[in-house]
């Protein structure tokens, strides 16, 4: 029995290594290009191991461009968005999941249906609304846009998970005289941790990769995020320099992956991780 289990784990690992390799083909390709000193994303004889190995392209991105400044901006923007968005959406999702009140169902359905709008033209409207509030060309405006864009997903996603938490656990808390705030903090949040992490990662990645609003509403590259900076470089010098562009694209994604790797530890629910703390 144990022996069979080990064998199947070996196969499972092989399966995942294969899947990961398949998934990484385009990325390994970019890596190969970025480590090559010759400018040939397009080359008739590509090999994953570069012929003229160099780190020069990475050095160029890190030190010749305001990469670190953009990284700082990306971090500030995405963390403020994640924190505020979660703070805004958790009580909302809690209300939608636990409370019964008139208008609840219409609100839930409306929120879903709003996603059907093709938002290609939204830029103007968003400008119209940010302008009078003086939020054009600053981070607060962007944070507001990002929270608004992700709020529906956050509400629905966390509400769905809250629904699975047995009511009885909360009832016990209520008898102890806990108010809503304490119920959320002490019971719902620990139990719903996976969905909160999922939501937070979603928002983080959305903000990390968003460039259209950032580029349109922000003037001046010193206020750019990584995605916006990459867009700007792509629009000008990088079109003719693939190795640097590939290096930059990979560097942009690394911080997110590190964050994701670290955050996985908290992905397990308090419920399955053994009992509930009273």
């Amino acid at each position: 029995m144990n022996y069979r289990k080990k064998i199947s784990l070996v196969f499972l690992n092989l399966f995942f290594i294969l899947i990961c390799l398949l998934c990484l083909i385009p990325i390994l390709y970019a890596l190969g290009v970025s480590l090559n000193s010759r400018n040939d994303l397009l080359s008739s004889s590509f090999s994953f191991i570069p012929k003229d190995f160099t780190f020069q392209n990475y050095r160029a991105v890190l030190f010749e461009k305001p990469f670190l400044l953009w990284l700082k901006n990306s971090l500030i923007l995405s963390f403020s968005t994640v924190v505020i968005a979660i703070a805004v959406a958790v009580p909302g999702a809690y209300a939608l999941s636990r409370k019964r009140f008139p208008g609840r169902k219409p609100i839930l359905n409306l929120l879903i249906l709003l996603n059907a709008f093709p938002s290609i033209l939204s830029m103007f409207a968003v400008y119209r609304i940010l302008k009078p509030m003086g939020l054009v060309n600053n981070f607060t405006g962007l944070v507001l846009i990002y929270i608004g864009t992700m709020a529906i997903f956050g509400l629905w996603n966390m509400k769905g998970y809250f629904d699975t938490i047995p009511l009885e656990i909360e009832e016990a808390g209520k008898i102890d005289g806990a108010d809503d705030f304490r119920l959320i903090r002490d019971i719902v949040l620990p139990l719903a941790r996976p969905s909160i992490i999922v939501t937070a990662v979603m928002i983080l990645i959305y903000v990390w990769n968003e460039y259209i609003f950032a580029v349109t509403f922000i003037t001046g590259s010193e206020k750019y995020t990584l995605a916006a900076g990459l867009y700007a470089l792509q629009a000008t010098d990088y079109t003719r320099n693939w190795p640097i562009f590939s290096a930059a694209s990979l560097l942009v994604s690394i911080p997110v992956l590190i964050i994701f790797f670290c955050v996985q530890r908290y992905m397990t629910s308090g419920l399955t991780a053994g009992g509930v703390k009273g």
């Binding site: 990325i27 390709y29 994303l41 839930l108 938002s119 709020a151 529906i152 997903f153 809503d180 629910s269």
Partner: protein
């Protein structure tokens, strides 16, 4: 007591305010603009012109639009089925007990998601699909085969776009399902194993039914985004300066090329509103749960 009744609204207010500003207002604004003649000749001084734009917009909904609509439905269906099936499988296997390296696998599988979409689409277009230099054709040639013109033919371009979409969307789906799996009490599986249930029986009888309500909203939202998918199809086959000749327009790329390029904002708004209503109607018709209200 009264305070108690108001409390849910109080909790919802912040969310609804930001959604109102960033999501609802643009829809209302687009609706308003659709009744005006806001085009480059009246950009900053539009005038109310009633339903003129809608009358004009109906000419966009010709046979080309209809085939784009059918194609988009097929595209959405195919992509959702593939995405769900593959993501389920991977997410469930990732949660296999004893799989030590699952964090590493998960992180690697997130990679496609961790870079801006246009970057990875460009990478696919230039690095993978390019007829002359693309990796796929280089491999085919090494095997002594002729290169395939991936993005030129309608069918091959459609499948290529599907592949890219799958690649881009899988991380999100895996993550959602993986998150939902955490809510399942391990005890269910243990008792099922004692009863002699195999992998697929457990998947069908425990995993899917328990996970479904949690991931439903994310899935519905993904259905909408897949339906409205623009970047992949446009950048791979329709981008100005490198149109491949394949006609695999979706509803959005079709109307983009037909209407949005005219810089006639009133007219384009009317088209946006019609697509919006069409999609709402469509989803209410197909989704029983939405029609009857959620629990």
């Amino acid at each position: 007591m009264k305070q108690n009744k108001l409390r849910p609204y109080l909790y919802l207010t912040p969310s609804l305010i930001v959604i109102g500003l960033i999501v609802v207002f643009p829809i209302l604004y687009t609706g308003y603009i659709s009744f005006t003649n806001m085009n480059i000749y009246h950009w900053f001084n539009p005038r109310f012109i009633g339903f003129d734009n809608y009358a004009k917009a109906f000419f966009v909904f010709d046979s080309g639009f209809l085939s784009a609509l059918l194609r988009t439905v097929l595209w959405t269906f195919l992509n959702m089925v593939l995405q769900m099936a593959v993501a389920y499988l991977i997410a469930v296997l990732l949660n296999t007990e004893g799989l030590r390296a699952h964090k590493v696998y998960k992180t690697i599988l997130m990679f496609p998601w961790a870079m801006p979409g246009y970057v990875s689409i460009l990478l696919w277009k230039m690095g993978m699909f390019n007829n002359e230099y693309g990796l796929l054709n280089q491999w085919l040639r090494k095997l002594g085969l002729n290169g395939v013109r991936w993005l030129d033919g309608n069918v091959s371009a459609f499948l290529s776009c599907t592949l890219v979409n799958l690649w881009l969307a899988l991380p999100f789906m895996i993550m959602i399902i993986d998150g939902a799996l955490q809510s399942i009490d391990k005890a269910y599986y243990e008792s099922a194993t004692l009863d002699g249930a195999g992998f697929f029986v457990k998947l069908r009888n425990i995993t899917v039914p328990l996970v479904r309500p949690i991931i439903a909203p994310a899935v519905v939202i993904t259905v909408f985004t897949t339906f409205k998918q623009f970047d992949i199809v446009y950048l791979l086959t329709q981008q100005q300066g490198s149109k491949t000749g394949a006609d695999i327009h979706t509803v959005i790329t079709y109307t983009y090329e037909k209407a949005f390029v005219t810089n006639n904002y009133g007219y384009s708004s009317a088209i946006s509103m019609i697509i919006f209503l069409l999609l709402i109607f469509f989803s209410l018709y197909t989704n029983k749960e939405l029609r009857e209200g959620n629990r």
